[in-house]
Amino acid sequence: MTNPVWKVPYNYLPEQFKNRDDIFDAWRDLANSAEFTLGPSVNEFENNFKKYIGSKYCIATNNGTDALILGLKALGVRPGDEIITVPNSFYATTGAIIACGAYPVFVDVDETYQMDVEKIQESITHKTRCILPVYWGGASPRMLKIVEIAKKNNLSIIEDACMAIGGSHKGIKSGRFGNVSAFSMHPLKSLNVMGDGGMITTDDDEIYEWLKKYRNHGMVDRDHIDIWGVNSRIQPLQAIVANIELNKIDAIIAKRNINARYLDESLNKFSPNINIPPRFQDDIDTFSLYMFTCKNRDGLLNFLRDNGIDAKIHYLVPLHLQVAAKPLGYSKGSFPQTELQANSIITIPAHQYLTQTQLDYMVEKIGLFYTQL
C-alpha cells in the first residue's frame, strides 16, 4: 500500500498510471467487444512481446508462476525428475518445480547473487532433467556458461526471467538462452500490469502447439478437448496494459540503470560497511531489485524505514530453510553463500520515478547510519 509518510516509496504504481486515459479507452473498447477470453488483445500482445524478445513464439499466461509450471511441463518434466535451481529466489521458482512433482536440486549462488556456475556440474545426476537459472533481481546469471554445461550434459534450460524483461547478457536478451523462458508482469516488474500476468517464450514448434492447447483447457476448438489442460489464460485487460507499457520498457530500464549507477558510486564510499555486487559492462540489469549486502542489516533496515525510506528484504529466509522445504532434506549450512546473503542483504528503491533529491536523501541516511555506528 502506498503510505503517504514514505519520503522514498517503494511502490510507484499510482505515479506510473497517473495518466490512464489510453488504458481506459482500450478497456472500454474491450468491454464493448466482450473479447474476454484470449482474443485480439492477447494476440497483439503476444506478437509484440515475441518481437521484443526476438523469440519465434510467445504464449501469455495468467502469471509468472504458471509460466514456469507450464514451461516445465512443456519440456516434459515428470514426477521424480530433478531440476537444478537456486535457493535464493522467490517461492514460485521452487513452487513451480514441486507443482510438476519434480525435485528442486539447489546450487549455491556466487557474489553476484546468481547461480554459481562452478557448482552446477557436481549437482547433475542421471535424474536431472533441466537447469532452471533465475535472473535474481533482474541481473543475469552467466548464461553462456550455463548453456555450455546444459549442452554437454544433454539437459534443457528453462529461464526464470520473471524479473528480467528487457535485460540482457553479453548483448543477448534475457529469455534467449533457454529452450523455454518464463516472465512475470506482476506490478513491480520491469514490464508490469495492474494485477497478475506472465509469458512463456520459445522457438520450438511442438512446445508452442502443446502450450497453446494446455493453457486453455486442452481445447483444439470450443467443442474438442485433446488433452487435459488448465486455465492459465492472461486477462485481456492485462494484455492491454502490457501492450501499452511495452512501448516504455527500454526507457524505464535506462532510467533505473542511471539511478543504480548513481547509487553504486555514492554507496561504494561506505565500503566495507556496504558491499555492492559486481556489475558487468556487457550486461543489462533491469534492477527490478536494487540490492546490496551490508553490516548490521537489520539496524540499517529499521533506520531507513524510520526515516521514511521503504527498504525491504528479498528474502529473509532462503528457500531451502523454509518450512515448506523440510521434505527436501536440506539444512542450515547447505548453501553458505546464500545464507550469508540472506542475513546481510537489503533492497532499496531505485525505480524510474525517484527524484535526485530522493536518491541523495537515501545516500545521506545510509551514510548517517554508518557514521553513527
Binding site: L13, P14, F17, A31, T37, G195, D196, H217, I225, A324
Partner: protein, 374 residues
C-alpha cells in the same frame, strides 16, 4: 416485425450501461490505491460473496478451474482416489480432478441434466473420496439425495456451482449446500468479472485459511512459506468490478427468470423447455431447450440471424482427452442422448421482448413448416 434481425447469443451492453459509472469509479480507485494484488477489494468481495451465499468464508481465485482444482488439492488424497461428477458439463468439471492427480468417475444425468442420485451409489468404490455434482445451466442438482448418500459413505461433497450463482433449493442458496462450492465468474456467467475469476465458498475456517495460503505461493506471510504452491489469486481490479455486479445480481436474476418463463410459455408445445420443481430456484445461466432435429433448427435460426449455442455437443467421456479413463459410446445414455437434443437460446439482461419474440417465432415456424412438409 423485421424480416432480418441479428440477435446475438449474449450482449453485455445493457448491463454495462447500467453500471458504467460505478465501474469507472472502481477503476480509478484501484489505480490510485496502488495495490493491484490481494488488496481490500479482494477481501471485501470475498466476505460479501460468502454472505450472499450464506456461508462463512469466500476465497477469491483466478478462475473456476483453479477453484475446483485447489479444493481437491487441499485434501492430499492418495493418487488412486476417485471423484464422482457428471459427464455433461464443461471440461473443467473433470479436468480439475485430473489436475489434482485424481481420477474422474462419471455418473449419468437425469432428464433435468443434473447428476442422477439413483445411479450414484453404484459408482462409489473404496477409492471414492468426493462427489462433485454440477448445477448445470443454473439449476440446482438433487443435493438432498446426494448429501444423504455422501454421508452414508463418508464422502466430501463439492458443489460445482460454476453456472449457478444465486440458485436455491428450499430457499437455501447453492454454495452452502455441500462441504465446499466452486464458482466461476467468467464473463458468460450471471455474476461475472471482465475476464477470468473464480471463488470458493465453505464454512470451515481451517480450510478457508489453508486455501488462502495455497492460492498465494503457500505463503503464511511475506517471509514464511509453509508449503510450496502456485499462484491462483483473483485480480484486485476484477474483485472491484465483481462487487459492483454482486449488488445487481438479484435484480438481474429476476429479469433472466422472467425472460426464461416467457420462453417456457411460448415454446412448451413445440420443444422440451426446462421444468422447475416447486422447491427449486433456477437462475437460467443458460436457457437450454431439448429440440428434435436440433442441428437443422440451429441452422434455421442462424439463417434468421439468431445466434445459439450447444453446451456441449461432445460429452466429456467421449473427448480425446478422456481416452485414458476408458469410457466409450453408450456408457452414459441420457448424457449422450441429450447431447444431440440440447440447444441454448439467447437470454441476457437487455434482451427485448421484441427480439425474444423473433427467436420464438423462428423456432415455431421451423416446426410448423416441418409439419406441413411431413
Amino acid at each position: 416485425m423485421a424480416d432480418s434481425e441479428v440477435i446475438p447469443y449474449i450482449d453485455f451492453s445493457h448491463k454495462n450501461s447500467e453500471i458504467r459509472a460505478d465501474l469507472i469509479n472502481a477503476f480509478e480507485k484501484v489505480i490510485d490505491g496502488g495495490q493491484y494484488i490481494q488488496g481490500t477489494e479482494v477481501l471485501n468481495f470475498e466476505s460479501e460473496f460468502a454472505q450472499y451465499c450464506g456461508t462463512n468464508f469466500g476465497i477469491g481465485l483466478a478462475n473456476g478451474t483453479c477453484s475446483l482444482t485447489l479444493i481437491l488439492k487441499s485434501f492430499k488424497f492418495p493418487t488412486n482416489s476417485e471423484v464422482i461428477t457428471a459427464p455433461n458439463s464443461f471440461i473443467a468439471s473433470a479436468s480439475s480432478i485430473t489436475l489434482a492427480g485424481l481420477r474422474p468417475v462419471f455418473v449419468d444425468v437425469s432428464e433435468d441434466m443434473n447428476m442422477n442420485p439413483e445411479l450414484l451409489e453404484e459408482a462409489i468404490t473404496e477409492n471414492t473420496r468426493a462427489i462433485m455434482p454440477v448445477h448445470l445451466t443454473g439449476r440446482p442438482a438433487k443435493m438432498e439425495a446426494i448429501n444423504q448418500i455422501a454421508k452414508r459413505h463418508n464422502l466430501i461433497v463439492i458443489e460445482d456451482a460454476a453456472q449457478a450463482v444465486g440458485a436455491m433449493v428450499d430457499g437455501k442458496k447453492v454454495g452452502g449446500l455441500g462441504d465446499f462450492a466452486s464458482f466461476s465468474l467468467h464473463p458468460l456467467k450471471n455474476l461475472h468479472a471482465y475476464g477470468d475469476a473464480g471463488i470458493v465458498t465453505c464454512n470451515s475456517e481451517d480450510t478457508a485459511k489453508r486455501l488462502q495460503i495455497l492460492k498465494n505461493h503457500g505463503l503464511v506471510d511475506r517471509s514464511t512459506c509453509d508449503i510450496f504452491s502456485s499462484n491462483c489469486r483473483l485480480d484486485e481490479m476484477q474483485a472491484a468490478f465483481l462487487r459492483i455486479q454482486l449488488r445487481k445480481l438479484d435484480a438481474w436474476t429476476l429479469e433472466r427468470r422472467r425472460l426464461a418463463h416467457r420462453y417456457n410459455e411460448k415454446l412448451n408445445d413445440v420443444v422440451d423447455v426446462p421444468v422447475e420443481n416447486s422447491n427449486e430456484y433456477h437462475v437460467y445461466q443458460t436457457y437450454m431447450i431439448k429440440a428434435s432435429n436440433r442441428d437443422n433448427l440451429q441452422k434455421h435460426l442462424k439463417t434468421a440471424g439468431v445466434e445459439t449455442s450447444i453446451h456441449y455437443p461432445v460429452p466429456i467421456h467421449l473427448q480425446p482427452a478422456a481416452k485414458n479413463l476408458g469410457y466409450k459410446v453408450g456408457d452414459f445414455p441420457i448424457t449422450e442422448k441429450l447431447s444431440h437434443l440440447i440447444l441454448s437460446l439467447p437470454l441476457y439482461v437487455g434482451l427485448s421482448e421484441k427480439s425474444q419474440d423473433y427467436v420464438i417465432e423462428h423456432i415455431r415456424n421451423f416446426y410448423e413448416r416441418k409439419l406441413s412438409l411431413d
